[in-house]
């Protein structure tokens, strides 16, 4: 099919599926996938009816409708419980999938399989029931690679080593410091968050507090400040001018009543977590809502992200929406709402629709050919009957 060269299709790496000769392995693959995001569970939780989803997926779904996406039974956020067993299963399946994939291949690849098994056997046998952090172990075993959002990078290149550098993780309660998308990390001595490249110099100088490029009065209500605010957030300063990571309580945030909350209420929540407080009320609500989902679902996993990584995610998605707006993409969508706009669009995209039509014809032709080749014997049998 000529859709295969579409640029979007190559943008997401996916492990090859198991061959149809192994339906049970395909089923296993499906069973560790969240029905909302269609990706392997991240921080899986269960709700009242017993169905499980990624914590952030079901939290944002329940913000919109109070029912289970799988069975339609009424569901409430208060029913959300961490599903530790499912997280363990998902992680270990992701780790062992490449090995099992090799085992499921036809005989000629046996030799390769043996060597892969050997190289993987060390970490898994010595780790016992304890879990590796997914970044090191997943990459080390060549397992499913995720997008920047979900993948976590290790600050250590040695993928198979278990010692030192905090690769082992026993309890979920200690805060895990990981790299953000911006390649920042806490200074090992004073814990201030800095770009990695500047850490050695920073230590040499005796850990001076990191400098901000902008001046300190950031909590204004002007829209233009947003960018500067995010910058400050990432420089580890917080909007109050000092690092607040240590003061943030790792406790679930209770949702405010958005219709009653004043912009000031929302700003105070945001500044408690050192987030930008700029924008009008809808912007503030959207930011608080998204932050609460990120923050609360981060408490439902053993692979916790650092607060700065969570802030990076929030800023990332806010920026992406903003960029779309600037590019007029939202307008493009609105245009289709009117009959004229729709017809105009259809005329512009005529070639695209024609391609899609031909694709179906081509596909049906191939399917018919295959079925005729396969099904002739069976058809005859039915006719005889």
């Amino acid at each position: 099919m000529d859709m295969s060269n579409h640029p979007l299709l190559s943008s997401m790496d996916e492990p090859p599926p198991f061959p149809p000769s192994h339906p049970h392995l395909r089923r296993l693959d499906r069973s560790v996938v969240c029905q909302i995001c269609k990706e392997p569970f991240q921080a899986p939780v269960s709700i009242g009816c017993g169905h499980s989803f990624c914590s952030s997926c079901i939290r944002s779904s329940l913000d919109v409708m109070k029912k289970c996406p799988s069975c339609n039974e009424p569901a409430l956020e208060g029913q959300i419980r961490r599903n530790r067993a499912l997280e363990e299963i998902t992680d270990s399946w992701e780790e062992s999938r490449p090995i099992i994939y090799e085992l499921a291949q036809p005989p000629p690849t046996k030799k390769r399989r043996a060597s892969i098994q050997e190289s993987n056997s060390k970490p898994s046998s010595s780790s016992g029931t304890k879990r590796l952090k997914p970044n090191s172990s997943r990459e080390g075993s060549g397992s499913r690679s995720q997008s920047p959002i979900k993948s976590r990078r290790s600050d250590d290149g040695d993928h198979n080593s278990l010692n030192g550098n905090g690769e082992m993780e026993d309890e979920e309660d200690d805060e895990v410091q990981e790299l953000t998308e911006n390649d920042e990390a806490p200074c090992p001595i004073c814990q201030a968050t800095l770009p990695i490249s500047s850490i050695p110099l920073h230590i040499e100088k005796g850990c001076p507090p990191p400098k901000t490029k902008t001046n300190g009065n950031g909590v204004g209500g002007r829209k233009g400040n947003q960018k500067a605010d995010w910058k400050k957030v990432f420089s580890g300063q917080g909007l109050g001018g000092k690092s607040k990571d240590k003061e943030v309580e790792m406790k679930r945030i209770t949702k405010p009543n958005y219709s009653l909350a004043t912009p000031a209420d929302l700003r105070s929540i945001l500044s408690e977590y050192s987030l930008p407080t700029t924008g009008d009320k809808p912007t503030l609500i959207a930011r608080v809502q998204e932050w609460i989902i990120l923050f609360n679902s981060n408490l439902d996993t053993s692979h916790r992200s650092s607060l700065s990584a969570l802030r990076a995610k929030l800023s990332d998605s806010e920026n992406s929406k903003k960029r779309d707006k600037e590019k007029g993409k939202d307008e493009m969508v609105n245009q289709l709402g009117s009959k004229d706009g729709l017809q105009k669009y259809a005329k512009e995209k005529k070639g695209e629709f024609e391609r899609l039509r031909k694709e179906i014809i081509e596909r049906d032709r191939k399917r018919r050919e295959q079925e005729e080749g396969k099904g002739r014997g069976r058809d005859n049998a039915i006719e005889v009957e």
Binding site: L9, S70, V333, L342, K349, E354
Partner: protein, 172 residues
Amino acid sequence: MSTAAKRRLIRDFKRLASDPPIGISGSPNPDNIMIWNAVIFGPPDTPFEDGSFRLTLTFSDSYPNKPPTVRFVSKMFHPNIYANGELCLDILQNRWSPAYDVAAILTSVQSLLNDPNPASPANVDAAQLFKENLKEYERRVKQTVEQSWLDNPDDIEIDEPSTSNTAQAVTA
């Protein structure tokens, strides 16, 4: 791709490309992944057979928590499809679930074609004919099927350059 909606849409596209339902194809607009173009063939052994109907799907940042808006670009004659192409389908409204993906939506729309629900009509004429005069209903449907061919100018069977305007002129 930095929002959950976009990630999910890429995933939907992969699924649709690797395992396409019979008589259905679709892909995101190259300039804007929130807009998809799709073509649905009328199900065989129904009055819609041989029709190739064009539609657009528009998604918001809340997808998959909120359903997309689905609109037929091709002119339709169906009890649950409004004159402006929008359709009245429960799974795109109050029975939406974030577990649905684009392949599931397009399959539902395809099966809606021959399984209309005249109880909640979007096109009163179509609903009435469907209930009271099935023969005439089918004749009108077949008209739209023929119009759907006119949307494809380089089709061998009909060599008449056409726009959606001429297609509308045929109905009138």
